[in-house]
Amino acid sequence: MKKILSIFFAAVVLLVACKKNTSENTPTNPSISSIVPAVAQANQIVAINGKRFSKNAAENIVKFAGVRAEVISATETELKVKVPVNGSTGNVTITINNHTSKGPVFTYGVAGNDPVEYEYVTSTYAGSATAGNTYGPLLEAQFSTLEGVALDESTGDLILADRGNQIIKRIRKNGTLVEFVAGVKGAGTVNGAVDVAKFNNPYKVAVDKFGNIFTVDNGGARIRKIDIATNLVSTFAGPTGATVTTGFIDGPSTTARFNVPIDAVVDNEGFVYVADANNSAIRKISPDGTVTTLAGAGPSQNGLVDGTWPNVRLNRPSGICLDKDGMLLVADRYNNAIRKIDRHTGKTTTIAGTGTAGFKDDEALKATFNHPFGIHADKHNNIYVTELNNNAVRMITPEGRVVTIGGNGTLGFAEGKPGVSQFYNPTDVTVDEDGNIFIADMSNNRIRKIVKVPKI
């Protein structure tokens, strides 16, 4: 081993000796580690952090996607630069004495409603470091692959789908405890009283305007309903008994079949819309349980096609919500796109994403996503998207810009600002009426909270 090392060392010395203009083996290129903020508008001052900058401001040639920026002040590790008026979203480069380095992507746009005054900070709202099934104080409670989170608008409570424990739980508005709603630990299909009923991999939940909870029983290939007045669990649509059958069948509640349903949302008239992933379809369930297909064409009919029936195609939609105009929004997972669907006509358009996987903030239809899985729109029509493969939380502003507000592209667990915070399989998102954003951070077994705070 020592021998190899010495050979290697000799080789390194030789290699370095071959390099032109380099008398010592210290790097000479400047490098950019971060831009703060990474989203801003022209003429704002941003800080560029890194190494080996020139203390002489004029020697630092900083370009935003090719457009030179004025450097206001410089130290060896931080430059203050003015975002150039005519630059555009893209990589920032720095050149000093003909040594050029490419830095991270800077995005022209508005972070939040006013980037000058707000930023997004991630913290933990509930759950602890280990998986388990413990109720009680928020940060002592334990979950097991908690996958779904939804707001009960009738009470302001958060409803949680603790998938691994097969239990639906609740955190009351301004509450300090995780409480029981329904389900006995262990998978099953039993209906009845909430302390007897069993769920089978409840991925996500939806809550109607009365507070009734619909669970998307992924493993049971059915939609369950928890009647909040009677405390009874029933099957709302799909197979009723212990036998799990999947399929792409419309019709009366008990006849209808689903295939890996993941998420649902309820409108004010009581219609439930289901992201039926492996049917690549959005299913619509009437209040009486009758199921129809609103968009998409069934198993393996995957594609990214907008329009109306029979042309519309999706690719394993995994998240669904309603915006404030009553339009359905879908996290179309394998299309890496966000779709908008008229809940009456099924007319479908693509509103964000290019269809190619990536992690780029930009105008909505030029931005890229990587396996968007959870989606929610707040009352201002800000759309929040959680992504499995980027382990990030993105926001689509009403002006049509995509901004990363949580996660840095690497899976993990870290609190803090965008670029620093980390998630591990963020599967679902909801927003309370105060604008707090709650994330089901599945593989961290936690509920994370993102708040918009004034910048200091």
Binding site: W309, P310, N311, T349, T354, A364, L365
Partner: protein, 432 residues
Amino acid sequence: MKKNLKIALGFILALFVLTSCSKNENEAVGMVSPVVGINYVKALHNGDDVNLVKDKLMGATQIAGVVISDKNSGNFDDKEFVLQNTNKGTTAGLIIKLNDANTSINYGDSVKVEIENCVLTREKGVMKIKGTNLALSKVTKVSSNNTLKPTVLTPTQLFSQFYTRESTLIQLNNATIPNLTGGEVFAGEYKLSENTAISLLLSTRTDASFAQKFLPMVASFIGIPTYYNESSDYYNTAKLLFKMPNEDAVFNQTGSVYLNFPEDFEAAPASAKSQFLMPAINDKVTFRTGTWRIYQGIIGDKVNQDKFNPIGKQAIRLQEQLSEAAYLEMDFDLPNGASQITFSYGATNPATGTAVPSTFILEYSKDGGATWAPIGNSLTSDATVAKEASFSLNIVGNVRFRINKLGLGANGAVVKNGLLNIDDFKVYQNVD
């Protein structure tokens, strides 16, 4: 084994050391290609003007490609032409700006351009090559009248990919120009999509040869994506324009849909035509567009069997395994011809077993149903999903249509003659 590995590793390292020192020794051997790809040249641009000296072009001095602008159309600057080429699967284009008039380089010409010591720049947002010496004489025509095959995109895709598609030939099929009141002409700028998130403008110069032609509401367009920035040379704040090379670049123009169409076959209950043959009513049923004859067919309303638009509950179902034709036929004329027809078709699922495809022909009659002529080729339904059929037409005056499901006989190993659903029958008026 470990020892061998060590030796091998040492050998590889030694090789690495040797080769890493050998730079500059072999560069003069072999001829450098004089031609460099347009995508390579474009990538050199990083905001500032780039002088195209030889060593920046890997020793090359020329770019080659096909001209996609038409100097005769008047829709382009008379000193410029748009050049695109495809290199390693990537199509890229830019504008060649001459310092004299382009009198000879035309649409479909394959050309080589000497670009050494020219300047790569963006003017008003558009990437161009210009130069004090870049005259028409620097352009060599290799061949003419080459067939140009545009890349087909949706307006959404073009909007998403605009940067890479700049100055290449693109086709947008059945694009809708929203909010037309009628009588608008090409000259000017018009939105090219109903999607409000997309700002893509069909742009035509007032001195273009087709500037005063009437604009269609829906049509397919071939054009060149280009930036236009009124106040600076940067592309990011520029408008996204789509410029047709010439008048032939618009086709399949479509007028508005006839009143009450699409026919969704929902206005009469399924019981109104529940038998495949109902001579008592001459097999005729009145829906929202008028009266239709459903010969050897019923109104199908079986969930999971009949392939109807899920907004509604019904579709027409034509009988299977007949040796005679089954018809779904308009019993009325439309007065203003037809520019396009769309409808859905699919194999009805039987109560048990799997769906069997069938074959049919769309036909039209201009004499009130006395004689019929086929439109296009026959279509065969898909066993799994409903599809949309779309035909571009140019029929003027009175016209009616029918679906003629062929009487191919009983199902067998070769013959597939299952049940057929038709829904959402939509006819567009003919413009002009």
